[in-house]
Symmetry: C2
Subunit: 222 residues, 2 copies
DNA sequence: GCTGCCATTCGCCAAAGGTCGAACCTCGAC
DNA sequence: GTCGAGGTTCGACCTTTGGCGAATGGCAGC
C-alpha cells in the first residue's frame, strides 16, 4: 500500500490529480492539503509517505521555497511538481531543485499516470515536449535553496510571511506566539541565510519565486 | 547636431556603442556614463538630448527600474535598451516599459546603426530574430513601473539602495545626507508605491529586476 | 533514568525604522 | 515681483526590529 500526498489549492484540480493517482496506483491511500502549512502538517503525520504531488503556487509559499524546504527536511520523499506554467525553464528549475517530475496542469490523465508510476519506480519524468535543455541553476539560486532547506518548519513559516511584507506583530498573531518569539526566529533565519536584516531576507526569498508578484498584500486605504 | 547619451558599465562595450552611433550619425555628440547616478547627472545636464542607449544592468539599478523611471521623468527622450540577454521575452518587456528599441550585445555594428537611425526617425526597432510575441506586461509589473516612474530622482536613488538591502544609515552616508532625510524619502516612497514598510518596498522593486540576484551585498563574516 | 542537543518560546534592552511638522530652495505661473 | 507647488533637508518623537540570555520540552544515545 502506498501513501500519496497531494497539495494544491484548487479543489477541482486536486480531485483530478487524486483520480489520476488512483488510476496509476489503485491501492494507494491519498491525502490532500490545500496550503503549505496544511501540507507540512500532513507530512509530519505521515513521515513515511511514498509520493508527494504539489503545486508551486499555494497559500503560504510561492515558488520554489516550499519545494526546497521539503527536499531539505524530507530528502526521502519523492516529489512531483504540478504547475500551470508550460515553460520548460520552470520545469527544469523544479527538477534542479530536487523534484522527481514536472507536470503542467494541461497534461492529460495518461501523462500523470505515467509520471506517477515512473517516480514510484525511482525514475525522473518530464513530459516529452519539455525534455531537453540544461538542468543547472544559477549559483545564486542554488545557494539560496540550500540555505532555505536548513530552516526549521517554524522558521520557514516565518520566512514566507516576511516575504509577504508582514510585520513581526502580524506574524506573531498568525502563528499564535509572542512577538519576541518571532524575533528569535528572525535572528536564526538571518544567520542561516547569511544576511543581516529583514529586507535582505525578503529579497533572498523572492529569488525562489516562480514569477514575481507585484505588491505584497496590503490591507490599507493608501 | 544630435546629442546621444550612452550608459553602460563595461568600458569596451561603451566604446563599441559609441563607434556604432557615430557610424549611424556622423555629426552626433556622444556623452557617456558608467552608472545610473552618472546617467541621471548626464540627463539633467543635457535635458534636450536626442537619444539614450542604456544597459539594463548597471551599478545603481538592476533591471527595468531605471528605464521605468527615465520614461516617467523624461518621456520625450527616445531610449534604446542594450543587454546581454538574448531572450525575446526581455526585449519585449523592455519595449513594453517604453523603450524604442532593444539591442542584444551580440548584435553586429550594422544592426546597431540600423536601430539608431530607426529610433531617431521616431520608429521602434527590434532585431529580426526577436520580432513577434506579445507586448503586454503583467498588470502587476506595469503597476509597479508606473509608480516607480513617479519617484523623484533622490527617491529613486534611495529605492535602489533599499533594494540592495542597505540600512538607512548606509544610504544616508552614501548620499551625503542625514539619516532623517533618508527616512523622509522612505516615507514618500512607501506612499507612492502604496505599501507600508521597507520590506514591501524592496519586494516591489525586485519585481522590476530582469533576473533575480541571490544575495544582497553583505560585507560581513557570517 | 540520565544527558546532551536542539527547536521553540519569551522578556529585556539597544538599534533601526517611520511619522510629523517645518525650514529652505528652485522654478514656473500669474 | 509675487505666489504657490513641490523637492530636499532636518529634528523630535514613537514604533518596530534585532540581539542576548534563559527557560521549557521533545528526542536520541548512553
Amino acid at each position: 500500500m502506498s501513501d500519496v500526498l497531494i497539495a494544491d489549492d484548487h479543489p477541482l484540480f486536486r480531485d483530478a490529480l487524486q483520480r489520476a493517482v488512483l488510476a496509476a496506483v489503485p491501492d494507494a491511500t491519498v491525502h490532500t492539503a490545500d496550503s503549505v502549512p496544511a501540507l507540512f502538517a500532513l507530512i509530519e503525520s505521515l513521515p513515511d509517505a511514498d509520493l508527494l504531488l504539489m503545486d508551486l503556487h499555494m497559500p503560504g509559499a510561492r515558488g520554489y521555497s516550499a519545494l526546497a524546504h521539503i527536499r531539505g527536511q524530507y530528502p526521502g520523499l519523492p516529489t512531483i511538481v504540478v504547475s500551470g506554467h508550460e515553460e520548460g525553464q520552470i520545469a527544469r528549475r523544479a527538477l534542479a531543485h530536487g523534484a522527481s517530475a514536472y507536470i503542467p496542469k494541461s497534461a492529460a490523465v495518461e501523462q500523470i499516470v505515467e509520471a506517477v508510476r515512473a517516480v514510484l519506480d525511482g525514475d525522473v519524468w518530464l513530459p516529452h515536449q519539455l525534455v531537453g535543455g540544461s538542468l543547472e541553476l544559477k549559483a545564486d539560486e542554488a545557494d539560496v535553496a540550500a540555505r532555505v532547506a536548513t530552516l526549521t518548519p517554524q522558521q520557514f513559516r516565518v520566512l514566507n510571511m516576511i516575504a509577504e511584507g508582514l510585520l513581526n506583530k502580524q506574524i506573531a498573531f498568525d502563528l499564535g506566539v509572542s512577538e519576541a518569539t518571532v524575533k528569535a526566529h528572525m535572528t536564526a533565519i538571518m544567520r542561516k541565510l547569511g544576511v543581516s536584516n529583514r529586507t535582505q531576507v525578503a529579497l533572498a526569498a523572492s529569488h525562489l519565486d516562480v514569477e514575481k508578484e507585484a505588491f505584497p498584500g496590503v490591507s490599507q486605504e493608501g
